[in-house]
């Protein structure tokens, strides 16, 4: 069994952390580029290799058609859900996508869970390099306001990355866990989490008990499509309007230029958290240039409406917790977008209290995930997290009206039971439609799943099947059904309305293993090629040296032939063939190597007195 880690699978950046028992706190693991942040960017190389993180981010500029960012926005969503997204993000989505979106990267198509799994694989390899051991289990964080389909998609991504997902933890709650280690506050805490693409607000109560601290979430709310990305998009839109008005240049059809501009604006946004002004200079197609100085005031003008959008969920969460903003004893800030002075100022004004910003807002969620991973892994705990389900669970009844059976903000795990009967004689099945959301009509809620309940043939009203709906500790729905007459359980085949079914996941797992093999082959070919280069160079050097004088003509010819044969194949992909020819050359040069060895030895001995040998 390998190691367990905590992973923050973010919209913009992803991180992996572990619990370091030596220091008694969680730590983020640094990747090969010297940062703990792995940009959530995936690119498909022309040779089929998947590139993730920093190198993929660079390809956003050079190969935008083969590269994707912010894929988290597509997790667990259908084609009709993402129409707004498509106006703002350069996602190339297959028009035939139905329940699961397919995104095109170069010549291949991937589902969002597959793309996310590449990011998870990358983080897994960071951790494996760090530990020098395999990593096979993880706690992964999700926005608190993620619905069932989005959670399932995240769990599927974990599975596809070869990770057993021990638990999905809500991001704001994870942040509270990470903070809880540093201080021992009691009472009410609000966590304001404005990340790259999602916004969450959670209200928690910290309770001290004889056994340890309980982190009880009272309520949660949010918007799964609101975050730093939106600030970038608003800045980009403003800049494009200006470019069009002043230079008459339209950037449609120039994805490279748009990415270049976006990158420069994001850099300016970051700079404006500390500075009052930031210069943005980008060359435009056709020789013109965008050279502007952004002021903090200008950024705040763009930012203010985005901040306002966070206030609706904040007020709802407080109302659901039956609390006033002033009652919060601590306010915790999470997510890169909370670095902007405007957000800090306005949050402080609203709660009447300076928010906590001691922990790095980019890392705090991953750190909390590592804490939860340790709780699950070690079995030793001094804290317990009681989280809630963000959305009410309901079933569609007559006339499309929803009967809510588990209210939002119920502590999870939670369950509800309902009994169903046949409405016609000998009716043998009923289709149950499960939805999530607060609206009265099923068509206004999020469709989660459909399944068929099997009934024994009976007169109308005679059959009785009891269904148990259960939301587990990860916030994911499970369904059980039992015939009340026989007491027999029946298997319920839940067809998710959005997302992958088991067969699709199995197929993808097989494919991913195939690709893993392909990746392996590519790596082997590169290594064999390098080795071929160095042995060829060494042989040439040997042949030019003194020792070569000891070789017979036949030996010389054999070496020459082996070298030619290796040169012939070394550029190819068949690493086994390259290795075979390397071995052949090694054999052919055995005599030469021996002669060289002798010569070296001879030279060494010659320079020394006999007694020293």
């Amino acid at each position: 069994m390998g190691r367990t880690v905590g992973i923050d699978l973010g919209t913009t950046n992803s991180l992996v952390a572990w619990w370091d028992p030596a220091v008694g706190r969680p730590e983020c693991i640094t990747g090969p580029y010297g940062s703990t942040l792995c940009p959530s960017v995936v690119s498909l190389d022309a040779d089929g290799t998947i590139v993730v993180g920093e190198p993929a981010r660079r390809r956003l500029l050079t190969q935008p058609e083969r590269t994707i960012y912010s894929v988290k926005r597509l997790m667990g969503r259908g084609l009709e859900d993402v129409q707004e997204e498509l106006k703002l993000f350069p996602f190339r989505i297959d028009a035939g996508s139905k329940q699961v979106i397919r995104v095109r990267l170069g010549e291949r198509e991937f589902t969002p869970p597959e793309i996310s799994s590449f990011i998870l694989r990358e983080l897994k390899s960071w951790a494996e390099n760090f530990f020098g051991e395999a990593v096979d289990r993880a706690v992964i964080t999700v926005p608190a306001y993620f619905n069932d389909a989005q959670r399932q998609a995240t769990r599927d991504a974990g599975r596809l990355a070869g990770l057993e997902v021990l638990r999905l933890v809500n991001e704001p709650t994870a942040a509270a866990l990470a903070y809880g280690l540093h201080k021992s506050q009691r009472g009410l805490v609000a966590v304001y989490d404005l990340g790259g693409g999602t916004f969450d607000i959670s209200v928690l109560k910290l309770i001290s008990t004889g056994e340890g601290d309980i982190y009880q979430v009272l309520s949660t709310n949010g918007d799964t499509h609101l975050g730093g990305d939106d600030i970038d998009n608003a800045m980009l839109a403003a800049a494009r309007r200006e470019i069009e008005a002043r230079e008459g240049v339209k950037l449609e059809g120039h994805p490279e230029a748009v990415q270049e501009l976006r990158k420069a604006l994001v850099a300016a946004k970051h700079a404006l958290s500390a500075d009052e002004k930031a210069a943005v200079t980008v060359a435009l197609p056709g020789g013109a240039a965008y050279a502007e100085e952004w002021t903090r005031a200008e950024l705040e003008e763009v930012l203010a409406p985005i901040f306002e959008r966070t206030m609706g969920p904040v007020k709802q969460a407080l109302a659901d917790a039956h609390q006033k903003p002033q009652a919060m004893e601590e306010v915790v800030m999470v997510g890169g977008a909370t670095r902007t002075p405007l957000v800090r100022r306005r949050v402080e004004e609203y709660f009447g209290r300076a928010p906590h910003t001691e922990l790095n807002p980019d890392e705090v969620v991953a750190l909390g995930a590592a804490v939860q991973a340790d709780i699950l892994e070690s079995g030793v705990k001094n804290m317990l997290l009681l989280d809630v389900t963000p959305l009410s669970l309901g079933i569609e009844t007559m006339g499309g009206v929803v009967a809510h059976i588990i209210p939002r903000n119920s502590t999870i795990p939670a369950s509800a039971q309902d009994t169903f009967t046949n409405s016609a004689d000998n009716q043998t099945g009923i289709v149950i439609h499960v939805v999530q959301g607060e609206r009265e009509l099923a068509s206004d809620c999020r469709s989660l799943a459909r399944f068929t309940l099997h009934m024994p043939p009976m007169p109308a009203g005679g059959a009785r099947v009891e269904v148990k709906f259960l939301i587990d500790a990860s916030g994911i729905l499970q369904v059980e059904a039992r015939d009340m007459r026989t007491g027999k359980m029946q298997t319920v085949e839940v067809q998710p309305s959005y997302g992958l079914n088991d067969t699709e996941i199995e197929r993808m797992l097989e494919e991913s293993i195939e690709y893993a093999e392909q990746d392996f082959a590519t790596r082997q070919a590169i290594e064999a090629r390098n080795e071929a280069e160095s042995i060829l160079a060494a042989t040439e050097k040997g042949l030019a040296g003194e020792a070569a004088g000891a070789l017979s003509a036949a030996e010389r010819a054999a070496i020459g032939a082996a070298m030619a044969e290796l040169r012939e194949v070394k550029g190819g992909e068949d690493y086994k063939l390259i290795r075979a020819r390397i071995d052949a050359l090694n054999q052919a040069t055995a005599g030469l190597a021996e002669a060289m060895m002798n010569q070296v030895l001879h030279a060494t001995v010659e320079g020394k007195k006999l007694s020293e040998v």
């Binding site: 021990l166 638990r167 309770i207 008990t209 056994e211 340890g212 309980i214 709780i375 699950l376 892994e377 079995g379 705990k381 317990l384 997290l385 009681l386 079933i395 569609e396 009844t397 007559m398 009967a403 209210p407 119920s410 502590t411 999870i412 795990p413 939670a414 369950s415 509800a416 309902d418 009994t419 169903f420 009967t421 046949n422 409405s423 009923i430 149950i432 439609h433 009203g461 009785r464 259960l470 939301i471 587990d472 500790a473």
Partner: protein
């Protein structure tokens, strides 16, 4: 879709564990085996009162309930069984979810009454829900008139002063109904005490009467609540 009418007392299952599935010994608090400490399967039909080891009574010491909830959370939460067998994980999910469900219902006095009525097969909705309770008929009639006036005045070009007066009248009416709601809640608590007394006395017939009374009060309560909500929504427009 056919949801079967809920009702009929569910078969009460004794909460005391018969025999531990793991060590075969008997005894324990129902949640865990006294001998080996293994978590026990949740018997079907265990109700929320039984789950907490409480009598089927409505008065509860809330602090004690919360303390017990935290204590059981600590022991039953799936976190504790992440390294356990699949069976233990399933049992912890069953018990852990009922713990949360039970606490959610029992900590709210009205939800607690509704739950008890459902358990006793006495919750009957619909018949009186849509109708004004007779003693409120007149006030409800007036309120509806004012509401209509407000709606139609919004379309027409009503005088600002008249609008303000109308709004004030509605706000007052809403306040009056909110006071009624407090009265109703008191009636409900009185009936709840009656029920508890019948449980102590073992008087089943008087118990049925108390339940019937609570059902009626609940229907009146939800009628008034909807009324107040409707007025507030209209005023917020």
């Amino acid at each position: 879709m056919n949801r079967a009418e809920q009702g009929g007392a569910s078969p009460a299952v004794a909460e005391t564990a018969a025999q531990c599935w793991k060590c075969g010994k008997a005894g324990g608090d129902g949640h865990f085996c006294a001998a080996c400490g293994a978590i026990q399967r949740l018997p079907r039909g265990t109700d929320h009162f039984q789950f907490f080891g409480l009598p089927r009574k409505l008065w509860m010491a809330m602090e004690e309930l919360e303390r017990r909830y935290h204590q059981l959370s600590w022991k039953l939460h799936p976190d504790n069984f992440a390294r356990g067998t699949e069976e233990e994980q399933e049992m912890s999910l069953e018990r852990g979810s009922q713990l949360n469900d039970a606490y959610r219902v029992l900590r709210e006095p009205v939800a607690r009454v509704e739950y008890l009525l459902a358990l006793e097969g006495m919750r009957k909705e619909g018949t009186t829900k849509q109708q004004a309770p007779p003693e409120l008929l007149e006030e409800v009639f007036e309120l509806n008139e004012s509401l209509d006036e407000l709606r139609s005045s919004r379309e027409g070009n009503q005088h600002a002063a008249e609008m303000t007066a109308l709004r004030r009248r509605l706000e007052e009416a809403a306040r009056a109904f909110e006071e009624k709601l407090a009265e109703v809640d008191e009636q409900l608590m009185a009936a709840a005490r009656e029920w508890d007394a019948t449980v102590d006395a073992g008087d089943a017939a008087a118990g049925r009467a108390a339940l019937g009374k609570m059902n009626e009060i609940l229907n009146r309560r939800s009628y008034i609540r909807n009324l107040v909500r409707g007025v507030n929504e209209e005023l917020a427009k």
